[in-house]
Amino acid sequence: MKWDWNAVSDFMPEFWHGLLVTLQILALGSLLSFTLGLVWALLMRTPSRWVRWPVGVVTEFVRNTPLLVQLFFLFYVLPEWGLTFSALATGAFAIGLHYSTYTMQVYRAGIEAVPVGQWEAATALNLPRRRTWTAVILPQAIRRVIPALGNYVIAMLKDTPMLMVITVLEMLGRARLFSQQHFQFTEPLTVIGVAFILISYLASLLLRALERRLVR
């Protein structure tokens, strides 16, 4: 095996396209999983079991079926119902939805970890329910769960290549295409491997900075 720098430079234009797509999936997926997971967690705390029950069933179902199956389903079945989205949007949605069923558990644990005395103090001060959530409980709960959410960002990053199966050309897709055209595998795969490590590292730095800001 011989390392060919020319192959690296030939691959780079392809790589940048793939990187952009990977980052888009990661950003949209994170945003969706963070918000949707919080919505699930809050819905699971409503007094009405007519809300809790369906939310519980749907999220259990999504968590316990493979992401790959969900990708195929959303990409091939939704258009039959007249819902057509780009492959990228479909893929980012699938990842976000899938991981929201994990982040919801993280939020749940974070909310339950807020001491009961905080609820009691809010009641004693007569704060409205909504205000108790937004000003007292959630700021404390979310601060606690940021490290755990960060782990899911990295897990999502590592699942982005799955979108290849629905024609999204992210980093691995670009590397594979390049390899098949040029019969050079080592260089493009090494480049994207390094890119995955760098993105993970930068994401964890970003989340740590966010955590510090919130803890302050």
Binding site: Q118, E120, A121, T123, A124, L125, N126, P128, A135
Partner: protein
């Protein structure tokens, strides 16, 4: 209900000289009866201290009044308005009249000291932020922490945190202040500062106080009335001079000799 019975009940059940009235209040946790058919009332401006062994139901009374828990039987009336059962709106009206200070302070760690105090006046009483802050600064001055406005509660000592919690409760201008073992979680050298502050407040305001405490010296100083609890009942009540010097019940004598 006819006019006649309503008039009658307003005279006999809730005369205007009573701010708080508990009638036949029973509270159970599982098979454990914490409060057993309890009756008592508190007149406005009075300072009532609840003493007795742990688990005798003292704290539960404060928690019932603050609507943090519900009674299994009986009625609780505050300023003529009944709690349990009552519509949410009425419960909120009653809560406005009551403030509570907790054993563990329960300050909001995600807010500055100032925000801890202004949050409820702004959100609940509809005060402007400027007005609420001005009042909060006055209160912090009163509790001796004027320089801690911008500090996070977690940076303060236990005694300082409890004084902020007292300021936070007072900011809502309550008619009734519930004090739940407010010095029990403090280091011994910090207790005196908090008790002195409460003595000041008791002396200089007309706030009605219900106080659960193990600080008998403090109870003797501020109380108009002392209630001795045992097993969910008031076994003896009277002015502090009487209870602390010459109690009628052996159980009271025994308890006092154990804690004094």
């Amino acid at each position: 209900m006819s006019v006649e019975t309503r008039t009658k009940s307003s005279v006999t059940d809730a005369p205007s000289s009573e701010l708080i009235r508990l009638a036949g209040v029973t509270k159970r946790f599982g098979t454990n009866t914490v409060l057993d058919q309890l009756d008592f009332s508190v007149q406005p401006g009075k300072h009532v201290t609840l003493i007795g062994p742990s688990g005798s139901g003292k704290t539960t009374i404060l928690r019932l009044l603050m609507t943090l828990t519900k009674p299994d039987e009986g009625t609780i009336t505050v300023d003529g308005q009944q709690l349990f059962p009552a519509p949410e709106k009425q419960i909120r009206e009653v809560r406005k009249k009551i403030g509570m200070v907790f054993q563990q302070f329960n300050l909001f760690p995600n807010m500055s000291v100032l925000r801890n105090i202004t949050e409820a006046p702004v959100q609940v009483l509809g005060m402007s932020r400027d007005e609420a802050e001005a009042r909060a600064r006055e209160l912090l001055d009163l509790v001796g922490l004027a320089d801690k406005c911008d500090a996070r509660p977690t940076r303060l000592s236990g005694g300082q945190q409890q004084r902020v919690a007292i300021a936070r409760a007072l900011a809502m201008r309550p008619q009734v202040l519930l004090l739940d073992e407010v010095t029990s979680a403090l280091d011994p050298e910090l207790v005196a500062g908090v008790l002195d502050l409460l003595r000041d407040i008791a002396r200089s305001t007309d706030i009605t106080m219900l106080c659960v405490t193990h600080e008998m010296g403090f109870a003797r100083d501020i109380s108009d009335q002392v209630l001795m609890f045992d097993s969910g009942r008031v076994i003896e009540s009277g002015p502090p001079e009487k209870i602390f010097s010459d109690p009628d019940q052996d159980r009271t004598r025994e308890f006092l000799s154990a804690v004094l």
